[in-house]
Symmetry: C2
Subunit: 221 residues, 2 copies
């Protein structure tokens, strides 16, 4: 998230379109993540900004488009993180573990993103559908997975029948659930999935799981 925090001496009123826009997006991200789409209040977003509600409509058109823009920016952040990923120098097993760990870390570090995605799912992904940007930005992580899989399968380390998108779903589900379902899981089972003391344990567990799946000999079917 591009956070904005110039001091802005009180009383003085500065015009800065980019700053105002970014500040609205920052606050809106928090507010939507906090309360959901319908629970979020446009007035509340405005109040926590150095500008007024009028500006939200000026820059974004309305609550719906504001949420779409918030989503676009949140997905942009994860896409950037995935693009940083460089595992070509590692052997397939180490590479896939590294990918899993980076995914794990990113989910943990961006709970707001997880919440926004959960909210978007409740609403049928309608904002993604309405967004031109989000329509066809494939995941860079997918390309990485494809390369690792191809290399691992070629060398015979990995079983042959694994698909990149499926593996991505497997890794994502584990990382996502840990954050998205933290509250109900904690309430029902008395265990905090985000407990810092257990972090390394869960991180290793994910890697072990994925590698075990990829290297196990499958029973005939």
């Amino acid at each position: 998230m591009t956070s904005v925090e110039e001091p802005a001496r009180p009383g003085e009123r500065i015009r800065d379109a980019a700053r105002t826009r970014a500040e609205i997006l920052d606050v809106a991200t928090q507010e939507f993540a906090r309360a959901g789409y319908d629970g979020a209040r446009v007035d509340e977003i405005a109040a926590r900004t150095r500008t007024t509600k009028r500006m939200i409509y000026y820059y974004f058109g309305g609550k719906e488009q504001l949420f779409t823009t918030v989503l676009e920016r949140a997905y942009g952040v994860i896409r950037e993180a995935e693009q940083q990923l460089d595992v070509d120098h590692l052997d397939p097993v180490a590479a896939i573990r590294r990918l899993a760990e980076v995914t794990f870390d990113h989910h943990e570090q961006h709970p707001d993103f997880i919440r926004l995605v959960s909210i978007e799912n409740i609403h049928g992904a309608q904002h993604i559908a309405a967004s031109e940007k989000l329509g066809k930005i494939g995941s860079p992580a997918l390309d990485v997975i494809r390369r690792i899989l191809a290399s691992g399968q070629e060398s015979g380390l990995f079983t042959a029948d694994v698909d990149a998108v499926d593996l991505h779903a497997m890794i994502s589900s584990y990382c996502f659930f840990r954050v998205s379902n933290r509250n109900t899981f904690g309430a029902l089972f008395g265990r905090d999935l985000l407990d810092p003391a257990q972090r390394a344990h869960y991180r290793a567990m994910l890697g072990d799981m994925v590698i075990a799946y990829l290297t196990a000999e499958r029973t005939a079917d």
Copy 2:
């Protein structure tokens, strides 16, 4: 879900507290699952019922308590399904696969439940916390997992360092994600995780993953 659908000849007005209550819960479940807690409309729930809004407040006290009761009932259904589970006659590997498959099936068959849990997570699991019923109903599935794990570890089939709650989280995350994130995943990757043609594939993949994890020799750490 205990669905209610007596014909109830038009014009005639029958008094039936249990039926009215159940009908409100049925409709409320759909409405909350459809639109989220804040998106759901009490008037809409009432309108789709053969009774009036007044009755919602008569029986449940308010929107908040109505949602809590909806949640309690939804969790009750899954707990019942878990209690049906009988895998004691199977060997550990078959038993754990069976457990995974039953979990898989239940999630797929109850998308409304998944949505309600997602919604509850957005709101910090506050309704679970407020509910006496939901406070301490452990999951029967957990007991089953504990027995299978103990048996599998004793016989040396499974690695020793796996915890029941962790394994439950692993299985749940896969099953949950497939339903909860169907919309965004489909929109971003063009693949429907609930495609009936892929159902068997994903079901087998889960079992393979869990068994691979449980039977793999762990690298020293």
